[in-house]
Symmetry: C2
Subunit: 450 residues, 2 copies
């Protein structure tokens, strides 16, 4: 098995096959491909070509491919399917994936689609899952799990498990519940492989089992699962009843999405966009932050205009404004990024004031080194010591202030329950630009005595 690699040539070849309607060639080509690879191909085709391609697949492969498709392609394909056909695909899927698809269907056909699902328990499970917030443990979990009653013995248990395992793609743990369906503990598959079949479940289950509440946030579930190296975690409702389980593959997606979102926010991109999205989507994601930058720039211009009398004697002060602004922005982004990451990893211990003092010391150290370099350089270059001194002292002060703002804002946002990630990027850069320039001209005015 060599890994699949989608090249531009392969894509062109597939498009040609679709255009010329060579269905049997397409079918035999896709026969050997993993569904994730087929989805990757479909995502790069036009909606019509993708729909054409997917329609050629067997139903059991179609359902897996559907889950991996981009939203717009999936929507177009679902529009081309009857309610009965959609129900057939849902039948093949795990409940969590099926519920995600149902959640995307137009409201008016949901009832019809659900009623067409033949396996009524599957249908009930999907409907159960629909009521959970997408952004919660309940929205991530699947109903497929293997559970046994604490009052059974191992023999009954193994029989029941065999039956249940038929519906579960991956068996991680066997959960043990009491008569009220409350989660009591777990049995490991390994225990089952290595234990005699006679003992009652009550005596052999492990009572310690990590669990999450249905209302828990996905990021919190991700933290717990990655901290404790779990591959699946049971989900319980408000009174401790086992209602589902979350597997690590869904959590990997949560971790990746979270990281991408933070990265984009830090870069001043406010929607979830990809390089291949439309120019309009990309503009909507980028323009608001640029507009913020524009306002900041106008503010900076207004500040500089206020110090216009300085220009005739000390034009050099104006030449160094971009340097001051850039350094204020860079330091602010550095400090805030460290704090945002610390908050995301629950790594930050100690009080806010301790943290601000540390950042102040750090910024002062960086500032002094850079200020000294700048002082010597500017002095020799321009021969104007007072101006060089004013610029360098300002640099030190601005770096310290920028560091404090960069540390304080994400901590403040976090305390207020706002995602601190928005603080890193244009928001910090812009406010630090303005503060930096204001401090700079004020210090220059004092030192140069104008």
């Amino acid at each position: 098995m060599t890994p699949f690699k989608l090249t531009d040539e392969l894509l062109a070849e597939i498009e040609l096959l679709i255009e010329s309607g060579k269905d049997s060639d397409l079918k035999s080509f896709m026969q050997d491909l993993h569904y994730a690879d087929i989805a990757e191909i479909a995502n790069d085709l036009s909606e019509e070509s993708a729909t054409y391609l997917i329609k050629l697949l067997d139903s059991d492969k179609t359902s897996d491919v559907l889950i991996e498709l981009d939203d717009d392609i999936r929507e177009s394909i679902l529009n081309n399917l009857s309610s009965k056909e959609i129900a057939e695909e849902l039948e093949e899927l795990d409940t969590d994936d099926a519920a995600d698809i149902v959640g995307e269907l137009p409201q008016e056909i949901v009832e019809e689609v659900i009623s067409e699902i033949e396996d009524r328990e599957h249908a009930r499970d999907i409907v159960d899952l629909l009521r959970y917030d997408e952004d919660s443990a309940g929205g991530l979990m699947a109903k497929e799990l293997v559970k046994v009653n604490e009052n059974w013995n191992v023999l009954t248990c193994v029989k029941e498990m065999r039956a249940q395992a038929e519906n579960v793609t991956r068996v991680h743990s066997i959960y043990v519940v009491d008569d009220d369906d409350k989660l009591k503990g777990r049995l490991s598959l390994k225990d089952l492989l290595t234990t005699s079949t006679k003992s009652p479940i009550k005596d052999i289950y492990i009572p310690k089992v990590d669990r999450v509440n249905v209302n828990e946030e996905p990021e919190e579930v991700a933290k717990i699962m990655s901290k404790y190296d779990l591959e699946a975690i049971p989900v319980v409702d408000e009174i401790g009843r086992l209602v589902g389980r979350i597997t690590i593959d869904d959590i990997v997606d949560v971790i990746k999405e979270e990281a991408e979102k933070d990265y984009q926010l830090a870069a001043g991109i406010s929607q979830d966009v990809e390089a291949d999205d439309s120019i309009w989507d990309l503009t909507r994601a980028r323009l608001p932050w640029l507009f913020l930058g524009l306002l900041g720039g106008i503010g900076a211009a207004a500040i500089m205009g206020g110090f216009e009398e300085m220009i005739s004697k000390h034009a050099i002060i104006f030449f160094f404004t971009p340097l001051i602004a850039a350094m204020a922005g860079n330091v602010g982004v550095q400090s805030s990024a460290i704090i945002v990451q610390g908050l995301a990893n629950d790594d930050l211990k100690g009080s806010i004031s301790n943290r601000l003092i540390k950042e102040m010391l750090l910024a002062a150290l960086n500032g002094l080194i850079l200020g000294l370099v700048l002082l010597v350089f500017t002095w020799f270059w321009q021969g104007n010591f007072p101006a060089a001194l004013a610029i360098s002292i300002s640099l030190v002060v601005v770096i310290i202030v920028a560091g404090i703002i960069g540390t304080f804002i994400p901590l403040f946002l976090d305390k207020r329950g706002i995602d601190p990630a928005i603080a890193t990027g244009p928001f910090i850069t812009t406010s630090n630009d303005i503060f930096g320039i204001l401090i700079y001209f004020w210090i220059a005015k004092v030192i140069l005595g104008i």
Copy 2:
């Protein structure tokens, strides 16, 4: 089970118990804690306190805690253990974790520690793993896996498996090999639960199995495992022999570290640091990028100095320099972030020139909207139409150029085999500042006729 939460109060309490030497209280407190929680506590204590705490633990818990500790705390604890004691801890660990610890030991004691390991096969496996590059699939894999020979029948297989499973914490798949140890396929545990025990392995194994080469990069392994939703992947050597397996929990760490590294690079932080690292470590991670910003600022000052004659008649042009520089930086960071993410996800299809044309259109659209706003505003504010026009036209041009640079640089770095993530952040901001200001003054000079 309520989830464990490390508060400042709890930490203070533990420190008090350590100071007053209340060993039995500490022991009974830690008895019920997960090893990851104990490690979290130890990581926040001083080295001495952490060492004291860990020494109180039973040996089997110590080994698990060791793996989760920060490097400096672990080093200090290992320094306090004899070679025999270290060997005992290694005995308890999976081979991948054991090899990681051996890799950190001072060279002069490695041989002695290895020779003290009683389980010689375990020792051999650890030594085998030591020869792989840390930054490869070989460096991530563990030797613990369950494998069966294709020539066995299910009965032999189950017996062998029971024996092997004793040493494997998590059984994901049963790998099938031939007499030369070459990977042929896999059996799923589920198949084993639901299949009769009489058939020969040759007839029932699944010949399609994803695999990676020992030399594959960790990021590539992460991509494959998350794309195909795998929880474990077998690792083969150059001639296809099964040499180990990688589990998803290690890949979760790879994904998180990769995301953190990209985020820090985008923020201008070049080493892997945390908020709680020393001021010296943080300075070393941040200062180089700030120095780059300083050079950029000096360059900008030099450019502005070259247009000094403009200052008497059109000081306003100088007031808007921070705006132009900030917008150039913001647009550059936005464009490069999208490209860096697209490259990381293998999402970018099509040629470089198509991508540059798209970015140009996008930047032109954003630029025109922002330029128009700025034109109207500046014109009304200052009443100087030619200057307002010069500033606004420059803004449009600068945004387009910044977008092109932000798109081109990461693509160029990637083609050269350099991590494109370094392009987002101070590097792009600084170069765009300089280009932006140069373009700005040049356009202003042409329009204002100076």
